[in-house]
């Protein structure tokens, strides 16, 4: 699913963000990435979604070889990814429903599919009754659940979350991770950057620690083994009924 081979990232200003990273993440895994501020966690995430090109080394994500990926193929890669950020990145002028539908509207999805898929995903993140609310009317935890719904609505195989709970009350943070855990149980690979130790201890998952641009420790695969999505819950088929 994810493969880094000798990846080094040096920014234009000379800052060495990542040094000779080797990392492998399998389909269906749930991994936390932890480390001090400035360690290179966000850089790693940006490399994954092809927002940055590594200075050297090879990266494979979801079957795409990022080193040889053509610019116009980047959208194809990103359609297989769901991305969540610390600052939610919702569109203030659109309500919850429209924010989630937006991800489908701009990727050539039929309006029939949009009408079927969006309510289903909103139900999944338990925001059905807030569909008509504007983002500013929601709590931080709810806003992040909208962002998560938007990341999920394209039915991605891989969710990347860069400190998704960084702006949320600790109590509500568990809710978000629980939701990610739920999604992971149905086969979606999850990679989540976090600062919060209590999350890492509460959810016994793989923990990759980054220090000064290198992997300082890696617990390896832990937690729920991969299982298929027998009910097709996250594939959208279930919403047909």
């Amino acid at each position: 699913m994810v493969n880094f081979e000798h990846v080094t990232m040096i920014y234009d200003n000379g800052a060495v963000a990542l040094k000779d990273i080797n990392l492998h993440i399998d389909k269906g895994e749930f991994a936390f990435i932890v480390g001090a501020s400035g360690a290179g966690k966000s850089t790693l995430m940006k490399l994954l979604m092809c927002e940055l090109t590594p200075t050297s080394g090879n990266i494979q994500v979801n079957g795409f070889d990022l080193t040889t990926l053509k610019r116009r193929k980047i959208p194809d890669l990103r359609r297989t990814l769901g991305v969540v950020f610390q600052d939610f990145r919702l569109i203030d002028s659109m309500n919850v429903y429209e924010n989630v539908a937006f991800a489908l509207r701009v990727t050539d999805t039929s309006s029939k599919m949009i009408r079927r898929r969006v309510p289903y995903i909103l139900g999944l993140v338990e925001l059905s009754d807030k569909a008509k609310c504007m983002p500013r009317e929601l709590s931080g935890g709810e806003q992040q659940r909208v962002a998560l719904a938007r990341a999920l609505v394209n039915n991605p195989a891989f969710i990347i979350a860069d400190e998704p709970t960084g702006n949320i009350d600790p109590a509500l943070s568990y809710e978000i991770v629980e939701l990610l855990n739920e999604i992971n149980r149905c086969g979606t690979t999850i990679l989540m950057v976090t600062h919060q130790h209590e999350l890492v201890t509460r959810f016994p998952k793989r923990v990759i620690t980054i220090e000064n641009g290198t992997i300082a420790s890696d617990t390896g695969r832990r937690g729920t083994p991969f299982q298929a999505d027998p009910a097709g819950i996250y594939r959208g088929e279930a919403s047909l009924v």
């Binding site: 979604m49 610019r71 116009r72 980047i74 959208p75 194809d76 890669l77 990103r78 359609r79 990814l81 991305v83 990145r89 569109i91 203030d92 937006f102 991800a103 509207r105 701009v106 990727t107 050539d108 999805t109 039929s110 309006s111 949009i114 938007r150 394209n154």
Partner: protein, 299 residues
């Protein structure tokens, strides 16, 4: 592309124009001014051409007699001109007659005292039998020592053409400047629109929208500016043209009325005018938006 997506893109383009209406108005204003100037210059050129053709068909030649001729020389000239085979008619207007007719036009007070020192020359107005002879006859007349000046229709046509050339050169300069200003203003307007929608653009990139899709609303906006400018320019030029036409047609002066008769009627030129305005407007709007997208919308 799906119709739902198209609707979305179109709505976004229009919304962007409205949100940013001041800059949008400036874009449309300058672009339509540019089109109006180009249109007017082209129409003027076309009409001068038509008038030149019309004037060229006139066979009247004005012969201005030199002020210093004696009566004997004048009589000799008179004989020579009246003896020319090529001429169909010869009409003589003396200095005195000229002054009287001018007094009739401008009034006694303005021209008081002109009797002592009459500024008007003796003149012949002749017509040729065969229009092809105009140039040769003009030349023969001009070479006579008693003749100061010959004004043939060709000369008038030359004046018209040189005016047209001057207008074309000056018009081209103004149009180039305005076209550059249009492009700068349009691309700035689009840049602001991109800035206003940077959040949406950012999210679109993360969820995997294609570059062309992200760009389209902005290009639509540029094209919209082009179409609107073309329509405004067209209706303004139409109104201006009809106004000038009516003005010339009403004018009492016979030669102006004649000139008006040779003006190209608007009915025959409105379609090519509208099509070229539309084409030029759309192309400029598109170039303007693409210029700014290339710089400010790194995907």
């Amino acid at each position: 592309m799906r119709s739902g997506s198209l609707r979305y893109l179109f709505r976004e383009g229009v919304r962007s124009v409205w949100v940013n209406r001041l800059m949008s108005a400036a874009s449309v204003g300058v672009l339509s001014a540019c089109l109006m100037l180009i249109g007017s210059a082209v129409l003027l050129a076309a009409n001068v051409k038509s008038m030149v053709g019309f004037v060229g068909q006139q066979n009247e030649i004005i012969v201005v007699v030199s002020d210093s001729v004696t009566d004997a020389q004048l009589a000799e000239l008179d004989d020579t001109i009246k003896g020319m085979e090529e001429l169909a008619s010869v009409k003589f207007t003396s200095k005195e007659q000229a002054l009287i007719s001018q007094i009739e036009i401008y009034g006694e007070s303005l021209l008081a005292g002109f009797e002592e020192d009459n500024p008007y020359p003796d003149m012949y107005s002749v017509t040729v039998k065969n229009i092809g002879d105009v140039e040769r006859v003009s030349q023969t007349l001009a070479e006579m020592p008693e003749v100061e000046q010959v004004r043939s229709p060709e000369e008038f046509a030359d004046v018209l053409v040189s005016i047209e050339k001057m207008v074309t050169v000056m018009g081209a300069l103004v149009v180039i400047v305005l076209a550059v200003v249009s492009l700068v203003i349009i691309s700035n307007t689009i840049r602001i629109a991109v800035f206003n929608r940077r959040r949406e653009v950012n999210i679109m990139k993360y969820v995997g929208a294609r570059d062309s899709f992200i760009r389209l609303p902005f290009v639509i906006q540029g094209v919209f500016f082009g179409i609107l400018s073309a329509l405004i320019a067209f209706f303004v030029v139409w109104a201006g043209y009809s106004f000038i036409y009516a003005l010339l047609a009403q004018n009492g002066s016979p030669w102006i009325a004649q000139a008006a008769a040779s003006i190209i009627p608007f009915e025959t030129i409105w379609l090519p005018l509208l099509v070229s305005f539309g084409g030029a407007g759309i192309v400029t709007g598109m170039i303007g938006s693409l210029l700014s997208l290339r710089k400010h919308l790194k995907v």
